[in-house]
């Protein structure tokens, strides 16, 4: 499972943004019900260039520009979904989901249950989060916990180009609303992406690297930082496993617990603020499990500070975990315990 791109599979190097575009291309071609809408996704090509020139291939019916109203965009998506379409809605920044929260939390997440299962809401909500682009406090948040906390929603956080494509395609297959939280810093990163209709199943974590000394669980942009940290740690003789849950809900806790049982030490890394963050849940799952008896060290979280993301670049950088922070925290876990 270390390499989820199985050897022999045909791959192509593309950026994270290109991989999403490739998924849209595949899905739109395969399924007449699929379309995407959002602000500036058409002619402009998306605020972060995700759709690019795609409108020239698929047309305005399948790639629709909308008004600047997140509530309206998601509301339209919910309506389309319950009437048989497979809509994807894009929120330009995940921060703006606050505008759309009634549609997300009270409608999309609950309609299936309120109507006795008579209808499904196969809606995919794409939204980029995260800091590091100098976009300041209202455009830099990591809000995955908001969505994970709402029963009825599924939440994925692709950390690689291949997962950006594979998880989006899997989300489209799912009959439930799925929130896909992308990361602005990842759009320009590249990697091998499986060609064609290649899905990454929901609810399956990826072991990015295997080591015996500690387990690092990281989400979103923290996965690549954890991988870089793991290389530095390896040079210093510390052998780390890095797990990327990929799907936050439903979480593949089995993979995490198995690894922590083997290593006895766990470092949970997230960009989001620590208080009641997603990793608090992971910590609780570990504490409540049989893995608890295998802990050699206290469970450690490395999170963003409990502050609005600052605009000043140096402060913005200091507000969330960096590679050196992960190295230091992992080293302390292994040497002190």
């Amino acid at each position: 499972m270390v390499d989820e791109v199985v050897e022999g599979t045909e791959t192509k190097v593309m950026t994270y943004a290109e991989a999403i575009r490739d998924a849209l291309r595949v899905a739109i071609a395969e399924d007449d019900r699929v379309f995407m809408m959002g602000e500036d996704v058409g002619i402009y090509g998306g605020a972060f260039g995700v759709t690019g020139e795609l409108i020239n291939e698929v047309g305005t019916e399948r790639l629709r520009d909308t008004t600047i109203s997140e509530l309206g965009i998601v509301g339209a998506g919910v309506g389309a979904a319950i009437t048989g379409m497979r809509p994807i809605v894009e929120l330009q920044f995940s921060d703006f989901s606050a505008q759309a929260m009634d549609q997300i939390a009270n409608q999309a997440a609950k309609i299936h249950f309120m109507l006795g299962g008579a209808v499904n809401v196969p809606l995919v909500i794409r939204a980029p989060g995260g800091s590091g682009t100098g976009a300041a406090a209202q455009h830099s948040q990591s809000l995955e916990t908001w969505f994970v906390h709402i029963p009825g929603l599924k939440v994925v956080m692709p950390a690689t180009p291949d997962d950006a494509k594979g998880l989006l395609l899997a989300a489209l297959d799912d009959p439930n609303p799925v929130v896909v939280l992308e990361h602005k810093l990842l759009y320009k990163t590249s990697g091998d992406v499986r060609v064609g209709d290649a899905r990454t199943p929901l609810g399956v974590a990826a072991i990015r690297r295997e080591g015996k000394d500690l387990t690092i669980v990281a989400t979103g942009v923290m996965v690549s930082r954890a991988m870089e940290a793991a290389e530095q740690l390896a040079a210093a003789g510390v052998d780390a496993t890095v797990i990327d849950p990929r799907t936050l809900k439903p979480l593949d806790s089995k993979t995490i617990l198995a690894s922590v049982t083997a290593t006895g030490r766990v470092l949970l890394v997230q960009e989001a603020a620590g208080t009641l963050g997603f990793m608090s849940e992971v910590a609780a799952i570990i504490a409540e499990s049989e893995t608890f008896a295998h802990l050699r060290a206290p469970v450690r979280r490395l999170s963003g500070l409990d502050i609005p993301i600052p605009y000043a670049p140096k402060l913005e950088r200091a507000a969330v975990p960096q590679v050196e922070d992960i190295v230091a925290a992992a080293t302390a876990l292994v040497t002190e315990w």
Binding site: G264, F292, A293, H294, L295, R296, A297, P298, E336, W337
Partner: protein, 444 residues
């Protein structure tokens, strides 16, 4: 007829658990109130458990070598006395009144001011240097040492007592490697089996019942004396590990015993050197009451009574029976009392009460040819005295002459939190004056 529980008695103030040594009765045997039914061992002594009622031993729930917490049932007796005693024992069943019906007399561990428990084993609240977890009560701290979960399960698998493991983790928490280095003692048989919740030969209900009160067995417990020795070893290890974290120093002084030797056979009634030195030690403590103390978070706390714990090399390991207030005993009585106490220690008949109430230690390796040494403090004692051999040695005198004198070099180990080097020097001066003038030692 009702089934009443026979519980692990509390035989000393510091006793938290006991190890089953033997059952003197079998299931079905009639037992009388006050009759010994089983033998259990505490940290330092073996004691008999007497039946609190007339009846029949109906069930045995504690096997040999099981470690049972005070107040937990070791067996059950079917008795007619239930009508009279009824609800009294409900509490004991649930462990709410440990020792409430202890058949054996509870050890008078409160002697010596109450703050000092078993000689050589005690720790008082605020005095336990191991408790880096900030635990408030020493009993809690020793029952439940701070350890990472894996260290706990490894200790359980290997039969290592966590309380005997020196923590090296942050905040005084026991790490895995601490247990691994302490746990060189291998499990006797099937290490995996000991981790199983129920042993195959036992009814599972019984295992369930006593599971919470079980603790790792002492290693190598094949015969009673060896088992006793192993338990004593663990206790010494635990106590000395605590001692190692106390800032302590030793001051040595050579005493001229020539004058004493001259009157020992006649005026001192042939008293042993140990008795003479223990009495001198106790008189000196009474004259330096600030040293008859234990360290607490609020500073040194003086003890009213003096108790000298005498280190005895017994078949079951290092024991330290306590001589109470030897400063006010005549030397012949003291000498006889010490001889009796040592005999008890050697024969294994010492009681928990005889091991409690110490405020200092006297350790003598002189008889084994050692010239001088420094005993480590036994927490919470502030001092320990170590005597080397009493022998003729060439000594120079003030006028430049030299000649043979009967001398003994004594080491005084001191808790530096309680007192300083000069205090140690003054205390040794007092002992030196005492041995130089036998009259003061003769006097009561």
């Amino acid at each position: 007829m009702a089934e009443l529980s026979l519980t692990m008695p509390k035989m000393s103030m510091t006793m938290e658990e006991g190890t089953m040594v033997a059952w003197l009765k079998s299931v079905g045997d009639p037992v009388k109130s006050g009759e010994p039914v089983a033998e259990v061992a505490t940290d330092k002594v073996d004691m008999e458990v007497e039946s609190p009622y007339d009846g029949v031993l109906s069930r045995i729930v504690a096997d040999i070598d099981d470690v049972i917490k005070v107040g937990e049932p070791i067996g059950y007796i079917t008795s007619d006395s239930d009508d009279l005693l009824g609800g009294l024992f409900d509490g004991a069943d649930s462990g709410q009144t440990p020792g409430g019906q202890a058949p054996a007399a509870a050890g008078p561990g409160a002697a010596g001011g109450g703050a000092v428990g078993d000689g050589g084993a005690a720790s008082t609240p605020g005095q336990d240097p191991v408790g880096g977890d900030g635990s408030t009560a020493s009993s809690t701290a020793s029952d439940w040492p701070a350890a990472v979960p894996l260290a706990r399960s490894i200790a359980s698998d290997r039969g290592v007592e966590l309380s005997s493991v020196a923590p090296t983790g942050p905040g005084g928490i026991i790490r895995v490697q601490d247990v691994e280095s302490a746990g060189a003692v291998p499990s006797r048989a099937e290490p995996a089996a000991s981790a199983q919740p129920s042993a195959p030969s036992q009814p599972s209900a019984r295992s369930q019942q006593s599971a919470p009160s079980r603790a790792p067995k002492a290693a190598g417990a094949t015969d009673p004396v060896a088992a006793r020795r192993a338990r004593t070893r663990l206790l010494v290890a635990r106590t000395m590990t605590v001692s190692a974290s106390i800032p302590q120093f030793t001051a040595y002084r050579q005493f001229d015993l020539s004058v004493l030797a001259g009157v020992r056979k006649s005026g001192l009634g042939g008293a042993s050197w140990t008795a003479i030195l223990v009495k001198a030690q106790a008189i000196a403590l009474s004259r330096h009451p600030e040293l008859n103390a234990v360290w607490t978070e609020d500073g040194p706390e003086r003890m009213e009574e003096i108790g000298i714990a005498l280190a005895v090399d017994s078949p079951s390991g290092l024991l330290a029976p306590v001589i109470r207030n030897p400063q006010s005993e005549t030397l012949p009585n003291l000498s006889a009392g010490i001889a009796q106490l040592v005999d008890s220690a050697l024969s294994g008949s010492i009681t928990a009460g005889q091991l409690s109430g110490g405020t200092s230690v006297f350790s003598n390796l002189g008889g084994m040819g050692v010239d001088h040494f420094n005993a480590l403090l036994t927490p919470p004692h502030a001092t320990a005295l170590s005597a080397g051999s009493v022998a003729q040695r060439v000594v120079a005198t003030a006028d430049g002459a030299f000649g043979p004198r009967l001398t003994c070099t004594v080491g005084l180990t001191m808790d530096h939190r309680v007192a300083d080097g000069a205090d140690a020097a003054r205390y040794l001066q007092t002992i030196s004056d005492l041995v130089a003038s036998p009259d003061s030692i003769l006097a009561v």
